[in-house]
Subunit: 369 residues, 4 copies
């Protein structure tokens, strides 16, 4: 099968997530990176492109230029990956959508709700695919958990507890990654809530199938002088009566990238932690806890759909991310990928951020997202 051609906006030297996207795109061999506007700094963009072996003619000084040129290129890119700080998602995404190019975009969808809606409008008008990289939803056991919940194996869901806890912002240390994530002009009004809270919220909804009816949020910046929240406490009430709690933090010393989900229903409960993604605890009421493994006994079709190796040969973050690229390819080629997050999840995430900010500003009043 012919490979698809990928462009990238952002992700130059010193970036973290750009390299992740490139590896993810390579893993299943369905994409070739052929063009980029890798930095808003033209010199860095060129240097980055050279390092990656891009044709210099397709290393652009701006995404605007790139969108136009690639749309006109006889062998132009099929899709662009947008891996910039949040405030640049909207202008870049809209430029490519308007040029008729599919978009794969980092989360959260945008820095503001207005931007988010503008992207949604552009996506709808363009008829192009828009994929949002909520990569944690692509872990095989998460796909399986979702399928088990949907099949009723947990009974009626009563409780959803999700947390995403880190410690890298425990002090005001600076660094490229920290800098833009704590600058409201680039990250949006939410800090921790946007950077990782949205992942937690997305994962909880993805697996449980539940929608938040209302929430009560207490956001806080513990580090003196920080302009955005670095810790997030939320109580959740889901439609249908389930309840939940969400904790996101960037100041909880001793935590690396601790995204953890627990779902409890009338019949069974499950627990999964991103840092040990190859196993999931599943317990039926009155039965022993079972350790389900990727591709192991009890695996469901969704849990088996993207195995690259048998269980016991640990797959991880990059493989889950690669599944997004594999499914994006499928989608662009006309296939289906029902679990792949898109513009809907993006808007939902933005509404969640906004609701948390609004609730917190009103002393944790209950608000509907």
């Amino acid at each position: 099968m012919q490979k698809l051609k990928l462009g990238m906006v952002g992700g130059g030297q010193g970036a973290f997530i750009g390299a992740v996207h490139r590896i993810a795109a390579r893993i299943d061999g369905q994409w070739d990176l052929v063009a980029g506007a890798l930095s808003s700094d033209p010199a860095r963009a060129m240097a980055s492109a050279a390092e990656l072996g891009l044709d210099p003619a397709r290393s652009y000084g701006s995404f605007t230029e790139m969108a136009v040129a690639e749309a006109a290129h006889p062998d132009g890119i099929d899709a662009v990956a947008i891996v910039t700080p949040n405030h640049m998602h909207a202008p870049a995404a809209i430029a490519f959508l308007e040029a008729g190019i599919h978009v794969i975009c980092d989360k959260p969808l945008a820095a503001t709700m207005e931007q988010a809606e503008a992207i949604a409008a552009a996506a709808a008008a363009s008829g192009r695919e828009f994929i949002l990289t909520h990569n944690y939803s692509a872990y095989p056991l998460i796909r399986q958990a979702r399928e088990m919940v949907a099949a009723g194996e947990l009974g009626e869901i009563r409780l959803v507890h999700v947390e995403y806890v880190q410690d890298w912002l425990v002090e005001d240390t600076g660094g490229k990654q920290a800098e833009w994530r704590t600058d409201p002009a680039r990250s949006g009004a939410g800090g921790c809530i946007g950077d990782i809270g949205t992942h937690a919220h997305n994962l909880a909804g993805f697996v449980s199938g539940l929608e938040v009816a209302e929430l009560s949020a207490d956001l806080h910046a513990f580090v003196p002088g920080r302009q955005v929240d670095d810790n997030v406490h939320v109580m959740l009430r889901y439609k249908g009566g389930a309840k939940g709690m969400l904790w996101a933090s960037q100041v909880a010393v001793g935590n690396g990238n601790a995204l953890r989900l627990r779902v409890h229903g009338t019949k069974a409960g499950l627990s999964w932690a991103q840092e040990e993604p190859e196993k999931m605890t599943f317990t039926r009421f009155g039965g022993p806890a079972q350790i389900l493994t990727r591709g192991g006994p009890g695996a469901t079709p969704a849990g088996l759909a993207h195995l690259r190796t048998p269980g016991g040969h640990p797959e991880g973050y990059l493989e889950a991310f690669a599944t997004l690229y594999a499914e994006a390819a499928t989608l662009i080629r006309g296939g289906t990928a029902e679990a792949l997050p898109g513009i809907g999840e993006g808007l939902e995430g933005m509404r969640f951020i906004a609701a948390c900010l609004r609730s917190s500003a009103e002393n944790a009043a209950w608000v509907a997202p």
Copy 2:
């Protein structure tokens, strides 16, 4: 050393916690059980006493009778253990305190705030010791954690997360234990919040040294027809600026007795789980996680104070409970036991229950306890 003499109110056949108290009292060899009013049902009281080898003359039909008789007995009991349902704590405790007998009482302190205050008044008037069996605070690593926090090893505390999660009430199954715990006439207006939420709250405060400034609570009964809460979500704001979350549940399928505490400060974080009480994870910012073990490297004086075996020879629930009895003996003999919970902790727990109920009734409004 002469053993102390113990009486017991409640704890007859079919009870759970009475047997725990008796084993705990025996472990360190400082107590002899010599008298009891083991059940409100006189026949059961006698049968239970016989089973335990009590002198029939000291097996009483009521605690009132027992308090009077033992106070007058030339070799009367030094202390009484009260292990009845909550609504009986107050009348029993007051009877013994007024008779000049020390009291060791199960938690929560009482079924109502009025009862709690009456106990407090009686305790103050009597000059006797009043010990409340918040047994989880007596685990050696919990004592050590408290000491580490107090010594500043975690820096300034920012976050406290505590949860106490079970699944035994996931259905409306009945049974002696379930019955009174879900009957507001006997347990008090709180269900899960009183039964285990108070343990969680106590543990969080015990280790962190923090007092709750205000809380926002969402209590719920998931099981149809249940008259008291079976799930508790609370957001916490501590005096001094720390924040926290508390989750208590009796309907989270797959959880046995999962009490877990995490405390994060500016310098370090720690994590401990009651079901694996012999280890605690402690991480200094920028350092590797350390697995601290009971009595192991880094143990503090409080962590070493009640070792019965070296690390690697697992101690557990009963040994922690026994430490309460050992310290009660020390106190009664005129020594000190600064970490032993008493009337102050009991009142604080009752105020916490009341505040949660009040907040929840007001749609999770912030209230001060």
Copy 3:
């Protein structure tokens, strides 16, 4: 029920295992310690007795004196606990057996095979009970594992892997505990093999139900100048065709008291570790791993026989040890206790030590125990 009366030989101040026996005897309230020859040093014996509140008239200067006096005492001891270094087991045990007193003895049975056989002969002649405290066999999940194996739940056993690994003798540090255990005159010719290797061997046989046909052992003293082995490697061939490996060490840095057993059959496998004794992993071929818990789903009668608390309220080393004392009481009162280790297990352990020493002396030749 009337309590039984216990005497103790050894276990004075500074001893480890004596205190363990005393707590174990107290936990279930069936024994009263009333007499002792607590040290071979008379002054220490008296001081220890006073500390324990023993009647000074029943604190003896020697076990010989004690055996005679207690046999003649109108309210003499029912049984004696022998908790001395190994070389004193035989003279003490024989003295009490000949006096008609039941014996509860620490393992290994003796320092030499000749002593062991003399004990066996005395036990047979006396008609008294002889209990050997292979305490690890009394953990509820170990009892359950044995029952599951016997019931064929694992199919035909193919593999048994057991290890008992510590690090406290990694250097030549001295101390009362280390001293006698590394002195062949007191511990016997085996060091690590006798002290903990026998526990491992006993546990493997207890659960698997298998007998060793032949073994190949490589014993070694890593610490310069040490006169007994501190590390033991053994390959095992069991009767019936199963195979196994045993590793015991006192010099494996980072290990506390790491006794771990794995048994694999044609249908299922199980794994259990003493330092986390409340759970056992059980996996049927083709099924998910199950985490079985003490008293939890799937518990067998043997696993339920000695519960003091529900699962989730951790029991441990002392409770398992207490089960030996509870069963000893049952046995002495005329009941049965089929899993309780006795003289047979003692002799088997001694033959195992001897076989390992013989094999190792012959460059790990295969020898039958």
Copy 4:
């Protein structure tokens, strides 16, 4: 940087390890697969090539043909990956080496010692690189462990325990993977010992830096009718005085791909398990156990050399395998890769297999490899 061109022998439809090699080669973007003789069955070879998008002109019917053609091709492959059953390694490797093409070969090196030596001779004569894919040695924490041992952080090594345990051959189930691995004509005389025992042996030596002086092996086929061993027990004596045990099994029910290494020295011990490769337990004598994480506190240069993501973003089997390809590229481009396994490790592995077979045939006599 220009990508290197890779060919592949074996790895057609239905193969496991071929796909792994292809992903590993893609992950770091340094290789393009451009040619193949993907199956000994020409039809399957063609179909597999088409599926992979290979130029049909470079899909060969035999490796002999391929070696000749690619050597002559103006843009011929830089290296070939040989992923056939063991008995084909030698003819294929020799053909490519003689054609001047670098070789990346699966382990064990060959089916017989004669073949292994022929490969070694061809490699030496060719001046080409020969890389053996002992992929487990490329995990970042394994590289770090090796570096820590070499730096003396564990003191003098006393003990090495390694095990590699699976259960997929517990029954005689057939299937393409099982079939050739249990056929001595294709796998060589060793079954489990060659397939996974060599990985365990390699890992132990890689980290400890020790060479086996002599070994005593007990190999066995538990499954009736099986012609090669499916379980391996080995006692090891290393040069310099350290001792070890190795267990490899394909019939231990409940184990997936459980490769586990423990190394203990005079100063510290470490433990690592392949199924949770992102952490390693490291304990200094007298200190608490530390959980070292990939790239985390305490990471050494070798542990940091191939990070693709920060810790907490789990990397696994494919990333470790990719490191071999990245280092192979470095080597071929004239750089150095001192930890990359090659012909020396291959011969050592073959000698280890032979020694185990010889020892086992002589009733576990000690033999030098």
